[in-house]
Amino acid sequence: MSETITLEVLRYRPETDSEPHFQRYTVPYRDDWVVLDALNHIKDNLDATLSYRWSCHMAVCGSCGMTINNEPKLSCHTFLRDYRGGVIRVEPLDHFPIERDLVIVMDSFMEKLSGVKPWLIPKQEKPLSDGEYLQSPAELNVFHQYTQCINCVLCYAACPQVGLNEDFVGPAALALAHRYNLDSRDGGKGARADVVASNEGIWECTFVGACSQVCPKQVDPAAAIQQTKISASVDWLKDLLTPGAHR
């Protein structure tokens, strides 16, 4: 008989289940399969009722984040071979309500994300006829790593502060705010500060650093938040010394 591996998957169907419970599935083991392949095998061959999100299968879309053996991971980026001989426990991401099975409710994150205005707010709007807002490679390098975020929210599942205070704006949104604040074409730092530099923004972070550890795209939200703390403190001092001049 060919080798198999067991997945223990958290199930929750609100119309029939009063609370979440685990269900075991045995799937074929293949060296080149990731957890998402195993879930697709379950869905196609064993149990069509299993619900989960996925799209690209190549760590670009950010939709297949799950808790795999207690660690937030992209299921398309997590090989079965790393768990060979054991049971793989698959749960939805922590710190989010469960919509159904492995699908989480992401509304709170979407609100936080739009709250930091993650788009270019030019210092001065200019007419289309004036051409592009130019930027040098060196200016791009200043913020390039923060553009790699795919909004997979693994960092929200890993962050203890998100678990303690659901209002915390959180790692990905704050890193993205930092990305636009650092952009030479942007002048929106003041407009973002009401959220970013609020008690629920950067100041709720205690620099645990779990966000940067679990990030599948090597974005470093913890560094972004600490750098923002320095720049927000400088702005706070300027406001204190010359009130109203730095808005």
């Binding site: 009401d194 609020s198 008690n199 629920e200 100041w203 205690t206 620099f207 403190s233 706070w236 001092l237």
Partner: protein
């Protein structure tokens, strides 16, 4: 949401982190290990003169007060991460820091 006044707490915390990382280990090495072992010798008169000078007092105060504040804030944050967020933890951490800061200030003013 409104901008926070947390920089009041955070700026001395960040400064204390710098001092604790760069200066405190050197001071411990010199005053706690090398001098007692007799590896290096410090002239008492020179050190006393430094401690009596206003700028020397300020440097010594910073070397004690900032890391004390840093330690208090860091310990409280760690307790918070572990789910111990009560007022008692807050009072114990910041209370100890204030005690160290006041004793240091008092000693420097008295010298």
């Amino acid at each position: 949401m409104a901008k926070s006044n947390k920089p009041i707490l955070w700026l001395p915390f960040a400064g204390g982190g710098l001092v604790a990382a760069l200066i405190t280990p050197v001071l411990i090495l010199i005053t706690g290990i090398l001098v007692p072992l007799g590896v290096i010798h410090l002239n008492y008169e020179t050190i006393a003169a430094f401690a009596h000078h206003p700028i020397g007092k300020l440097i010594l105060f910073g070397a004690v007060a900032l890391p004390a504040w840093h330690a208090a804030h860091r310990l409280r944050m760690t307790a918070h991460d572990l789910g111990l967020g009560g007022g008692g933890v807050k009072a114990a951490c910041y209370g100890t820091a204030w005690l160290v800061i006041l004793v240091a200030a008092g000693a420097l003013i008295a010298t």
